[in-house]
Symmetry: C2
Subunit: 262 residues, 2 copies
Amino acid sequence: ARPAQLKGTLILVHVANMPSFLARTIYYSPIDHKNLNRVYPGRRDGSVSERIAEAITREVIDRSDYLVDIHSGDGNESLRPYTYWSKLGLDARADSLGRMMALAWGNDHIVVDTDRPRDLKASVYTQNTAHLRGKPSITTEAGYLGVAAEDMVQRNVDGAFRLMRFLRMLPGDVQLVEHPIWLDRTAVLTSPGTGVWHPRVDRGTTVQRGTVIGELTDFFGNVVAQVRAPFAGEVLYIVGTPAMSKGEPVGMIGQTAKENDR
Amino acid sequence: ARPAQLKGTLILVHVANMPSFLARTIYYSPIDHKNLNRVYPGRRDGSVSERIAEAITREVIDRSDYLVDIHSGDGNESLRPYTYWSKLGLDARADSLGRMMALAWGNDHIVVDTDRPRDLKASVYTQNTAHLRGKPSITTEAGYLGVAAEDMVQRNVDGAFRLMRFLRMLPGDVQLVEHPIWLDRTAVLTSPGTGVWHPRVDRGTTVQRGTVIGELTDFFGNVVAQVRAPFAGEVLYIVGTPAMSKGEPVGMIGQTAKENDR
């Protein structure tokens, strides 16, 4: 595609959270120790993460008609690609166009979120901030362990072009995922303690209710806890590095919707 | 091996730098922003990294006869396994036994360090602190990108058992590396700017003088600098993740010694 073919405006934010990117910190800013994706819509007079959120809300989300929050795998997470779609039931247009954006982007695994915050003043997440402001939005996940894996980079490039064709920003055939796998029950599992994490499943693995997805040992190698899948499903991500603190995520399980009519 | 077979005492420090381990920070403590392996021998009344260094100096190094500092690949580094041997020329016993420890451990690539600090009060590194106190010591490198790769874990286990057999702490045949590759010229290359790092070589690759080992782009993808090998050699490690700040290491090149008689 050539830039001259583009209709409308594409706003790209290359690195949303520069302090965390450069310091390579997981979840939290090295400056204010806050998670940028938990402080939306942000505060102009807040700490650095809150000010970044406020700037993104004002300069990006409020100026956009559609929003994609492209996640590329935290440094500790081994992910299989998937997309978050919010279905809050407050705004039928944002819900249904968000669904179409997810199908246009290209990941066949789509998490159906129905319980994100409904308060404009505490929208918490990037995607949710757009959604509550009437802008259809998705969050995409591709990548793992902080590595710029070429196939994952290409997925994001392909997704952006597929979505721009769907939105008629670029000419060309529209492609939608034909056989989406809707995941309408998900659980982020967290660590019951601090120690060394030993994952026992890979990203994308299918697990039964009760499957051990990983073990926590103390610093001497003694197993102190097992983390089990609370229901049958697929491993959307698993933490793939050893450091683990109490309450941190260890992985996420998604269960395929029984009916496919979303 | 059974514990009853052990002669002497094995002191194991499972995680030397707990704040950095749990916060998954690269190089620097999340608390005092110091590099533990640059503040030896430490200070009892110092900041947390300095206090850890002081405790390791007092409780581990000063109580030991031999010391191994087992590095397992920083979260951002893609490493090929190798061992650091210090040859300072101050203490023939520490120099020559350090050489034997390196051969016993098992990595065939051995960096010959001749320019570490010679000041007991500014020994800077863990290994160097032991060496200057008359305790033969090595630093070993195995692992990459913060992942607990099974083959790299096994290398460390094997190295520890090989070394304990060499030191007659355990019964069994002594094995030494038969054809060591001594690297007596090395360079840690650093980034000329802040941006996104694109490695262009893999760990272990042989490079010519002038080979581009990676490119730094700005946050928009424009190449702003190329980093080239300053001499022919082998890539001991290359930074494998994108975040890059000015002055940070991007990789290390080692040149094979012309004569093999070390």
